[in-house]
Symmetry: D2
Amino acid sequence: MPRSPTDYVNSVKDGRVVYYRGGKRVDDITTHPVISIAVRHASDLFGVKERLYEDPNYGLVSKYFRIPRNTNDLLDRYKLIYEDTLRFDGLFNIVQAIGSDALFSLMIIAKKVDKRYGTNYYSRVMKYYEHVVRNDLAMAVAQTDVKGNRAKRPPHEQEDKDMYLRVVEVRDDGIVVNGAKIHTTQGPVANEIIVLPYRALVENDKDYAVAFAVPANTKGLKFIVRPVLEYDGNPNAVNAASRFEVEALIVFDHVFVPWDRVFMFREWDLAGQLAWTFATYHRFTAISYRAATANLYLGASLYAARANGIENAPHVRDWLVQMIMYKEVLSMGAMAAP
Amino acid sequence: MPRSPTDYVNSVKDGRVVYYRGGKRVDDITTHPVISIAVRHASDLFGVKERLYEDPNYGLVSKYFRIPRNTNDLLDRYKLIYEDTLRFDGLFNIVQAIGSDALFSLMIIAKKVDKRYGTNYYSRVMKYYEHVVRNDLAMAVAQTDVKGNRAKRPPHEQEDKDMYLRVVEVRDDGIVVNGAKIHTTQGPVANEIIVLPYRALVENDKDYAVAFAVPANTKGLKFIVRPVLEYDGNPNAVNAASRFEVEALIVFDHVFVPWDRVFMFREWDLAGQLAWTFATYHRFTAISYRAATANLYLGASLYAARANGIENAPHVRDWLVQMIMYKEVLSMGAMAAP
Amino acid sequence: MPRSPTDYVNSVKDGRVVYYRGGKRVDDITTHPVISIAVRHASDLFGVKERLYEDPNYGLVSKYFRIPRNTNDLLDRYKLIYEDTLRFDGLFNIVQAIGSDALFSLMIIAKKVDKRYGTNYYSRVMKYYEHVVRNDLAMAVAQTDVKGNRAKRPPHEQEDKDMYLRVVEVRDDGIVVNGAKIHTTQGPVANEIIVLPYRALVENDKDYAVAFAVPANTKGLKFIVRPVLEYDGNPNAVNAASRFEVEALIVFDHVFVPWDRVFMFREWDLAGQLAWTFATYHRFTAISYRAATANLYLGASLYAARANGIENAPHVRDWLVQMIMYKEVLSMGAMAAP
Amino acid sequence: MPRSPTDYVNSVKDGRVVYYRGGKRVDDITTHPVISIAVRHASDLFGVKERLYEDPNYGLVSKYFRIPRNTNDLLDRYKLIYEDTLRFDGLFNIVQAIGSDALFSLMIIAKKVDKRYGTNYYSRVMKYYEHVVRNDLAMAVAQTDVKGNRAKRPPHEQEDKDMYLRVVEVRDDGIVVNGAKIHTTQGPVANEIIVLPYRALVENDKDYAVAFAVPANTKGLKFIVRPVLEYDGNPNAVNAASRFEVEALIVFDHVFVPWDRVFMFREWDLAGQLAWTFATYHRFTAISYRAATANLYLGASLYAARANGIENAPHVRDWLVQMIMYKEVLSMGAMAAP
């Protein structure tokens, strides 16, 4: 069942543990002066009728979850993302796109792992996918570890073993993980956090080869939040802005994950493929929405040039042409990718 | 009927007037030390079996003349050009591609002119097209005028009126033209020269709005030849090189063109569209063959790096990645264009 | 007599008319949360002992006002600016440098104007210079007009004649000017505002060919203030920052200037030379302080690289080398200029 | 005694062993169609009166050999090189400049080696220097080894030990060396070849830490010649060109060097400093002559723009400004270096 903006807003008041910058805990993210804007931006996605389609299995659900099976499906996905980005003033509304990028890659890699190791990850992924689709959830993907000393590459070489997220306990009913992931866009306002492993593991890193999903209010999860990019630390801009997103450092402090939500566990040789497959889907998403954003910048620049009477000045035309080329390279990347 | 390499070589011994650089007239281009290499390169195209297909109207003919009617046709054309470029050591064999680029654009614009002016150019273009297809001709396209003082834009403003090619006499049986076109790749070794007008004409430039085709041995045509690009003026390289192309300054000294080979005459308002439509087809051709050339450069660079033991040096990897990006941007341009 | 930081701070509490952004009037710039930081930064210059030297004519005064007469004087000026920039955490303290850049250029051009027109501007400039030196004043230079429609170049072509600052009334005791200048760094915290004309005047622009100096609290002057660059609109950063500068849009609403402070009046043919001569002095100042700033960025980057264990990663070394090249090009520009 | 062009030309007919490209041995370089042009170019230097000055020790000798002792000496050297480059149509005449760059660096490093090792290299260098100055010799510097597998850095790690030039025998009267140096500009037309070591030696590379000078007709020396850069392999250009230089791969096949011409022998820890000091002098030479060359290119471009009526086209002005910036950065580098 598609959710309304109100449904979504209510769903994120779930007791999750959120801090704004170095400050104190945020009791209600839906009323916090900064985070509430990211909540409202995300909620707007749920008000877009064009987002929905009638799926033969699941009924009326979000197009973002439609598994692309051919060239045309991918071109449809490009258009969906492009148009939504225009709809939201050039700021892509990421909360269902990034999660589906992760789910599509998990479907592909889970099958490979199952084939090599005789596991049953694919059925777990599909069961989780149905849960997401039917409940019209908002998702974030936590991939980038804090990493520590970058001169040391395989995670197990770090002095502090928690610099990369890892399994610290294996139980009958699931696993317990420790670590921290940074730059998780819209993590603090998502319903679910999907966790993917680092891309370059060696055999000694087995405990770091782990993928899973947890609700945002899971015990042991802590979000430390800031606005993304240009709004960073700028309450004036925050007050003026109609919409923006937040990002988070997510601390995993002995977080328990039940087996049916574990999608990779110690299969270190396929962790890199999972990371790259997700990145490939997500680069497709990114060039799609950036083409739309670039189009808006182009229009804004043209109006600014006209306001100063310089739209025909040769150097200004050169700059506008550069922007057109940038936009078109992105578009043609998206169109050629399938 | 497809021609053989020998057929083609014999066909260019037709009395055409050719000079090599500032020197004396070349009696036989097929034996001239420099031009003969361009002849041999062009002749090789006629030896490629993969070039041919069975057309419902014309029988076994060159794929280069197949009119692209949809996305798949264009992707096929991309592959044809890409593979022929690999086949000819990275040097695209242009003598049927560029002519078909011009013919396709003439088909589109002739229809527009006919509709606006009640002319019958389209039927002339199609009749000429059949002549080309059935006789498997090699063609060149002469577009760039010598231009003179570039500070003056419309051709009629030039002091010397012949700086842009123009009609100097109108007769019952056709027109007489004067002027000169530069940078005509493989012009001196083609069977036919297709002439297209300048892209930015105004009403006073009517006599410059002219498109037509003439055989290379037409009275009044003079080719002044040099090798293209990296071989320019380098007999050593010429002696060493297995293949290259030549280009020419073509002088039109009171050249007569019969009406059935005139495809535009004074319709100045559509001349720009004709120039741009040709350019669009030809840009597609160019990114297709340059992607192939780039691929060969990439391979050569990789081998050079390995020979010096530096294929893993970070700065060398950066350069290789730059080449891959260049190649892929060309490829994705070709793939996204349709 | 050299002033102390306290002297300076007291001197700017003089009733000047200042607005912060679009808001209401600022009663006391020395206590305003944003502007006070720029005041304190400027005041720090007056606490630097190394700034002073014993001048044969004026006694102990600021080195910034020492007229450079040879190569060594200019190299000394480079070192003065470079070292002060390091002293102030990479943020150059502009309030005496930019004013002296303007005064040095006025000295050169006033002599030329006097020679051509039989005027006595040079003696006015020197009298004003002595006033500045003896009172150890803080100065700003207002050069850039708001300009309006940039497609129209000479100021008199603008529909709104006040788009460039101009003389609107000539009186026995002086002139009255109207207009607005933008991007005046530290204007709101200076003692004096030196006004220079636009660089490209024609004869019809005579009323725009005007140079003069006024105290910051002159009737009719209004400062509309914002922080420069990276602190723009960021109170968080403002609160955290130890120092920054402000800039202003300065409105001149029927401002009266007595004749002894008028340094150019209708000599339109030398206005461009004045603008360029000032720019040349000020480019020298700018490459001097930016070399110092770049040096600090370089050090910060090196520490950041070390903290992540990547100071020997080839791509990081490339970036550091780029920074070194940037810094050295600036330095060698400053050293070669004399 | 200054030599005349004829003196110089006669001096290089000395039996030296020269091959042109992969071809057969050149009997007389002064009549060879390609190399003779480089000979004549070099000979022109000996006809320049401005090249000479009265030295207190040596009488009338070449300014190129004047040891720079202060800032003014270096600025004089900059002007000497700049003006000679204009004099020779933008092609710097390197045969005394590069040799003096090497001699100045040998003077500095020989003193350091003598101090550290108790050797007497400095007196050998000065004796050789006097020989060069008094006989007005033309010189080349051979620095770059052929190197082999670049993935291996210290020379001794190469499989083929001769990939870097090294001492293969130590005799009572001198040393015997083997190896090959590439890219030796004007080597084949110089009187003397000065050899400098590789810049990054380790202790095991002791036999590679060798510097010395030999006449060009020394037994065991073989020059394999090609024209530099744009004339490479282009006899047409060669015939048309008034001047150019050649470069050589110089093979050292058991070449004997007497002790008084050996300037470094196994002092591996100072070899890098010698290489870098030479490079520093020679970078100064290079930015001096390239500033002059750039100035000529700038003028040529301006004339070309005017000939096409486009000297005021904005994109052409941009390019001309880029060339001016390039030229000025070189000049200011040369001026700031001292």
